[in-house]
Symmetry: D2
Amino acid sequence: MSRSELPIFATADTYSDGAVDRRHEWASEETGCDLNALRHPGEADAYRGNIENHFGYVRLPVGVAGPVLLRGDHARGEFLVPMATTEGTLVASYSRGMKAITQSGGAVTEVYQNEIHSNATFETADPEAAAALRSWIESNQGVIAETVAEGTRHGRLLRCEYVPLGSRLIVNFVYDPADAMGINMITHVSHGICALIADQHGGLKFHFPSALQGDKKATAYNFQRGRGRSVRAQVLLRREVMNKRLRTSADLIMSYHRNNLEIGHLTGGLGFNMHIANGITALGLATGQDVAYVGESANGLTAIEPQGEDLLFTVTIPSLYVGTVGGGTRLPTHLPCLEILGCTAPGSALKLAEIFAGTCLAGEISVLAAIASDQFVRAHNRLGRNRPEPASTTD
Amino acid sequence: MSRSELPIFATADTYSDGAVDRRHEWASEETGCDLNALRHPGEADAYRGNIENHFGYVRLPVGVAGPVLLRGDHARGEFLVPMATTEGTLVASYSRGMKAITQSGGAVTEVYQNEIHSNATFETADPEAAAALRSWIESNQGVIAETVAEGTRHGRLLRCEYVPLGSRLIVNFVYDPADAMGINMITHVSHGICALIADQHGGLKFHFPSALQGDKKATAYNFQRGRGRSVRAQVLLRREVMNKRLRTSADLIMSYHRNNLEIGHLTGGLGFNMHIANGITALGLATGQDVAYVGESANGLTAIEPQGEDLLFTVTIPSLYVGTVGGGTRLPTHLPCLEILGCTAPGSALKLAEIFAGTCLAGEISVLAAIASDQFVRAHNRLGRNRPEPASTTD
Amino acid sequence: MSRSELPIFATADTYSDGAVDRRHEWASEETGCDLNALRHPGEADAYRGNIENHFGYVRLPVGVAGPVLLRGDHARGEFLVPMATTEGTLVASYSRGMKAITQSGGAVTEVYQNEIHSNATFETADPEAAAALRSWIESNQGVIAETVAEGTRHGRLLRCEYVPLGSRLIVNFVYDPADAMGINMITHVSHGICALIADQHGGLKFHFPSALQGDKKATAYNFQRGRGRSVRAQVLLRREVMNKRLRTSADLIMSYHRNNLEIGHLTGGLGFNMHIANGITALGLATGQDVAYVGESANGLTAIEPQGEDLLFTVTIPSLYVGTVGGGTRLPTHLPCLEILGCTAPGSALKLAEIFAGTCLAGEISVLAAIASDQFVRAHNRLGRNRPEPASTTD
Amino acid sequence: MSRSELPIFATADTYSDGAVDRRHEWASEETGCDLNALRHPGEADAYRGNIENHFGYVRLPVGVAGPVLLRGDHARGEFLVPMATTEGTLVASYSRGMKAITQSGGAVTEVYQNEIHSNATFETADPEAAAALRSWIESNQGVIAETVAEGTRHGRLLRCEYVPLGSRLIVNFVYDPADAMGINMITHVSHGICALIADQHGGLKFHFPSALQGDKKATAYNFQRGRGRSVRAQVLLRREVMNKRLRTSADLIMSYHRNNLEIGHLTGGLGFNMHIANGITALGLATGQDVAYVGESANGLTAIEPQGEDLLFTVTIPSLYVGTVGGGTRLPTHLPCLEILGCTAPGSALKLAEIFAGTCLAGEISVLAAIASDQFVRAHNRLGRNRPEPASTTD
């Protein structure tokens, strides 16, 4: 099997429907596959800047979960949450947890830190030069601010941090990304700063980005510092909700949780939770986020404390990456999902982050309750793929 | 804002177009949003078992990358690789790496381990009872095998492993999942085994799953043991390919890599790589995989060795989760993407896993080369969203 | 301040008292310090092979803890445990835990794995050569066994394991170290195997040891696999012992433990325990062990389960390094400490390992109980350095 | 074997020679062992507060390494370094590295952070109460400062940090420990603050310490933040020193180092180094430090950069615990070792920390050079225990 390369079409219409059609035709012929299901004419131009070699679309089904009552700093009210997934039971499970939250009086949500960093390594001549470079950067925050302002109207450089390493100086640029998730913005802007610094220092060699930023990977550095939106959600889950809606009890949940906490320490990881990766992925796919960041975001902590007959659940996620502008957020099917959540107006990013936090909290409650009561597998069997007679999925 | 709960429609047509339409209508009214873009009539039934409370679809654009020449145990030939993403430059970058692989003579790919495990905690009366339970399980592999055979025709239980912990016995069920990614299968089957064991021991209490399995999270346990498909891909990247196609050099790449390796040790993670999370996510979204597993899969190792004037690149991913049946793999738009890769026939899962490995290798090469040459950000600027006059995206 | 180098004395008496005296004199003059307290004439020759540039001795005080009743596979009976430390309250605290164990009927101890590994990286020409080398090693276990037998009469090579990495083959040599802690033996023997392999392959380049062995550092690799003696100790701590001797309760301990388990997950480590590092260090210093291994051994798990009104404590330490021959075990003051434990006869190493496990268990119990009851700091104040009127230290 | 408990002698002379003698006699009789080698009459009172149930001493041989030339902020000049160990070749190896440093012009050393923290968990009624408690603490720094001043004349509370977790508030007390290592001081003082807070809040329940402090264990939290003395040492190792003294080359070292860096990422740890645990332990044992902290300190980073024909070595240790007062620092044989280093005057702790850093740097250089040249095992064989005809140990 020898492939011809994808022909390069005229630059002018790279993102036109015509260009997509021609690629679709070429791909169908080249592979001999019927790719018609991937066609969706009429909106190719909307994907300008989001994709290359565009030849079609995959569809992911979206289910609605909730409503979930949030009483956050930014997210306030009852939210219906769109979740895109192909994993059966996921929406039902999260929805169940959301209703449990709502019936318990709602969850408090919070963005406790809002910083995203990118970093570069400058290869100076020796440690003294590294120290001098650090002084230069500290003394030239004005011109650096100008460079930032040229690169973004919304994001702000909060500070520079420094990690000296021999003759290298690692500089950590820490930003408030405003409504964008921010990685593209800070990559663009930080590189501009690096170029400025290099220019001012005789073409000083630099590596950008440096591995310190740990982008999309599980690192102790980002787990400890937080990166992106650092969020927290908590709810006092009422005894009667546990008993009636979740058909379990505080004792069963605590017994399972205690077991998990100890065994979790055998696994050697960063934090402990049941499956926040699922909620972040499904809500992220619905709202146009970059879900590859689940490699970082999956590490959070779920804590549970008995309070009388109730249980206080707290989910902490140090490194969540969401935005309401940029990325896939303005695409034809993603924008409506943000609208459902009321997250399209300027200044909505923290609200969205809190909705993610509340969603993850719901998922933790639901699956902990289900497993504690051994309902977990039975739910899978009832709703899972290719099982006969699926029951109602709304509870 | 007070929400009404989603009305429960008749069970019989939960997955019918009519049911999806009614939910769509309800959601539009309830939220006051125009959700028409999410409509795609005519195939709701195909999503039976993949989603609940289904009210529409999101579309992700798919680009084609490659071709990439693989010389694996299972994946052999030139592959065009469909990647679904909304992150600009991703497809172009991976495609560039694929062509570099192909021009260098292709990549060798391998599934070096193929095991997925699930585990349960049995709460016996005391350590002696835990030891006795272990003996019972070891002596009753026949009846356990029958339980497995009732639950799956394809997956196989390879062995049971044991971690005693006080009066608890953690039992690790290790399977070959055949063509399925496998988590649903092993969850179902393992729970059946647990129920059998509990029945045979007077209703012995158990927790299933136990936290040991580290599902969808970064854990040392799975990073060290491997879980799912453990894959490797390597290529001897030719000097002329580095110089001409990638416009960089072996020295520049090694200089950046060495810098990354050291700084990577400051971050405290599991393995080191540039961005395999991106490739796994985009190829996974195209082919119907559960991309929430990126929380585990993102931890791999990219190694580079000079060999004369060339560079030998090796990517190792211990915990990759892919299947060619189950999950979203048979859905209307995902099946064609598997067809493009020739991965629909029985026995294709390891082939698909190798294509993932080769894809990730391409991504590592491309981004290392680009950053080593400082082309990285410039490429972002050229192709990134909302930049004027994008150039050709096929190289 | 410019130093003269230490004069080189005649080789013949490097380890004689005369040589130590001359170095002592030289050091006193060179530094202008009164070093007389470090003198201990008459036994310099006993330290042959344990130290270089020997000019004196430090003294560490040894306290006796216990007795602790162990009902292990190897350690059976009541043990008085010598602990060398300069940290006030340590011996008293461990002793308190030991008595609690004894009063509860004793602890069960176990060496559940007994393997120590060392590894080398062979730099072959390409991945095919790496595979061929692996085959060669697998086919030549006979000649490798001969090399091992030449290097040690006691240790045994159990197996070779392989980690291919590009054109490199990492070979993991796994041994039973017999009564020795073993690192010197396996270093010597493994290097001999490497030299043999290199000779048989035209002077093949190798790096020995490879970083994979993670010697004396905290690594997921060794935490997950275990290295050295992998030990476990457990005791059912009786309610009356908690109430009367430890002046606390099961509820207070569990409340503190649960809190620790959750917060421990915020720290991101390997396992969770209170302070096993202290017990391993103090018992190791008394018995001539290499306490730098605490860098590895400090990572263990302390688990607690309610059983009726009692608590089942289990301590698991995957990587403990102890021996009863070699290292400092036969030195004038260390040998008597091994004699106190009945660990000088051939075949005593596993017994000693179990005593370490039981000792660590005692330390966990004591400190958990103390903190749970907030006695911790008060005990520190009463026994700590420079506090007036220290009370009896035997309880 | 049934043991009698150690008899409780009169409180008045717990730390007298007579009391030690009586315990020694009792232990000899009880165990039937000849423990005479552990006797050292005449100084028992010096160990008051350092040990309980004191019945004798172990002796560790001390070798002198160096001289090492340091050009630090605090440590300036050539130092002879006392190292206590029973591991043959250790002193010779470190000494070799020290001379290489000195011949290369000396190492620059630095304490880049000097903070030690302890933390408590307050169990408030609910998250609002946790927030209120935080406010109270922030508003009452004055009374807290008074409590600190009552508990220590030297240490200073730098700040309080807060980690809310559900209804719990974890408060992190961060100190400058002055010349003491500090754990006893901050434990004492922090507990006093906790008691004050509890008193002011109706007997509020607290757990102290909380697991967050990760004491003596490897945690991402302390590796990322640093705890104790955070130190750095670096040297430009000259080509001729590598060639002539170390009998290796920059290329050989870099080849081995690059190999280690990649393979180190397979192990999953915190930082990468060869064996800083050895240097910290041996120098710590000579100078009266608490070497159980090697469980934390062993995690550091060794970085190497080619600079022309030379190599720049940098060792970074985030969590080193040393003091020049308190602990074992004033004991009869340890004080002279501090005197050798000129570290007994007030304000010497940072100087001592820098000497530790320089020592660890020497150890890294020596062992990297030896292994790179495959001299490592040969040196072990020549100097190791029970080998005939040991050569001179001074080089």
